[in-house]
Amino acid sequence: MTAASTPTPPGADEAREDGPPAGTDAARHDGTETGTATVRSDERLVHRSLFQRLLGRPELGAVVGAIAVFVVFSVVADSFLRASSLSTVLYASSTLGIMAVPVALLMIGGEFDLSTGVMVTTSSLVSSMFSYQMTANVWVGVGVSLLVTLGIGLFNGYMLVRTKLPSFIITLGTFLMLTGLNLGLTKAISGTVSTKTISDMEGFASARALFASELTLGPADIQITVVWWLGLVALATWLLLRTKAGNWIFAVGGGQETARAVGVPVARTKIGLYLGVALGAWISGQHLLFNYDVVQSGEGVGNELIYIAAAVIGGCLLTGGYGSAVGAAVGAFIFGMTSKGIVYAQWEPDWFKFFLGAMLLVAVLLNAYIRKRAEAKR
């Protein structure tokens, strides 16, 4: 995230190969050529074949990794290829993916959020407890929860741009505070550490239809979270590649000072990204509530790393300025496939985490390898 004017070792950071000045079209197209091309003509005008363009996509490696993982489990696990199993895998992926997509956008913008895991829990707790305590229609709780969750995102973003401290520290603070608040407030209000059931309240059925129902699609039932997930991917991809805001996101992640110098509203972009994360947390949180009816206040801790992992597996750089929403979705899919595939394959359960870690590492290595090859070809 240093200014783009610093000299870059070759191949060290794709974001910089994209060629500053950031905030222009070049920042989001994934590198046509190293600087030499500009001698001939403007690099942005160089024509490239569809194949070349595909090779340049940040999610390419992840897609190949996903195919590899899919093939592995199709071979070793008998029950993996059944429609019902795939629907389970998609469900597991979607619950991660709904958060991985906005988290990926945030990471492209060069920031982290460690509070995402517990923010999801906060969102569902607020919704449930507000409805219950006020004996209100559950939709009221859902709306209040949206405001509160966006408020937390706003807090993260505002603190970040005001204090200029690393987002790691700020959101670590939010993470710990929310963990405490979740427990403290739930106990103070409900008397126990889990919420009371709201399934017999008005509006529950319709809210459940929106956040936790399933759709029958041929032989399989697809959870509605999959629809939310795909919708978010589409929205985020459009935002990144087709709008001015998308340019800003790449720009602030590539080099904040340069971005500011060319007139990108850095603070607004970053706050917006945190609001996006909060929106994802709200959707996930409402799913949690309406799927399980009762929420345990201690849930969600540790999930923030899984969201970040999914984004990174999907090709986002930890340093910002590079990545895609589709990649993050594929990353979540790899994670979902692997964690459930190990169960389908009936591998020794005590070794579960080891297998999970090893498979993910292999997927990421494959990802990095493919990307390097793709870049060498260009």
Binding site: T135, D293, N303
Partner: protein, 324 residues
Amino acid sequence: MAVALTSAALLAAGCSSSGGKSGEESADGAGGGKGVDTPRMTIAMVSHSGEGDTFWDIVQSGAKDAARKDNVRFDYSHDDEAGRQAQLVQSAVDKKVDGLIVTLAKPDAMKGAVKKAVKAGIPVITINSGGEHSAEFGALSHIGQDEAIAGEAVGDELNERGRKKALCVIHEQGNVSLEERCDGAKKTFDGEMSTLNVDGTNMPDVQSSVEAKLQSDDEIDTVLTLGAPFAATSAKAKEKAGSKAEIDTFDLNAQVVKGLKDKSFGFAVDQQPYLQGYEAVDALWLHSYNANELGGGKPVLTGPQIVTDKDVPRLEKYTKRGTR
């Protein structure tokens, strides 16, 4: 702004006529009246609980009820990391409390701190787990459930119900007492029992993992969860996977009681956490008031108690108020 408008509109749309706070019956709690007039004493409890565990809530409400009756100031602290739990014990010793209640989930890490407390003349009672180390560390008594015995009781119950193939769902990998429960059940169960590790802080993961397991093996006729919140989630997974398995669980909560009532769960194994908190505080009071010692050097067992739909009418209102 659109959001604010939407929720304002929703607010205007009004209230729920069913459920919620106003649907709640006022529960009658213990300790409302006057207790003993022995001198005020302070008792600290330090557990290995993580954040927001229903179980420890019930232990605490037991302890608090006893504290009210016994004119005791009750301090609760907890940390799921053994080193920090030991530090909490140390700070209770520094505060010179009149009695100490600790759990020994990781006995080796707690040994030093507990022995220090005993040396400082503070009576110690261990609860919940680690009964075999209690006397060795110098504690007065141990009040809890022997996880292996509880597991064995489950195995017997499963045999009686004619179960053939069971799945034991471990929601916290590497937790000794959870492993003991599974192992105990495996020991007495005549059928086949496999285990599944899930991430207990991530409900969708619990659901999809159990779902995956049931899809991969349709002979599984019993799912045994080791904590109450995971029973309801497993029931959901079972439904999605189209499995006929019976859901049985350790520990109780309101959802489990509801499930027992409508027969979506087979049975629950209760270790009566309320008793662990209540008896521990009361035993320390008895020790100070009357020099009593409970258990004769052996652990005092608070479970297992097998609970089925027949017990539901009695239990329902107690789980709702959070004491069962």
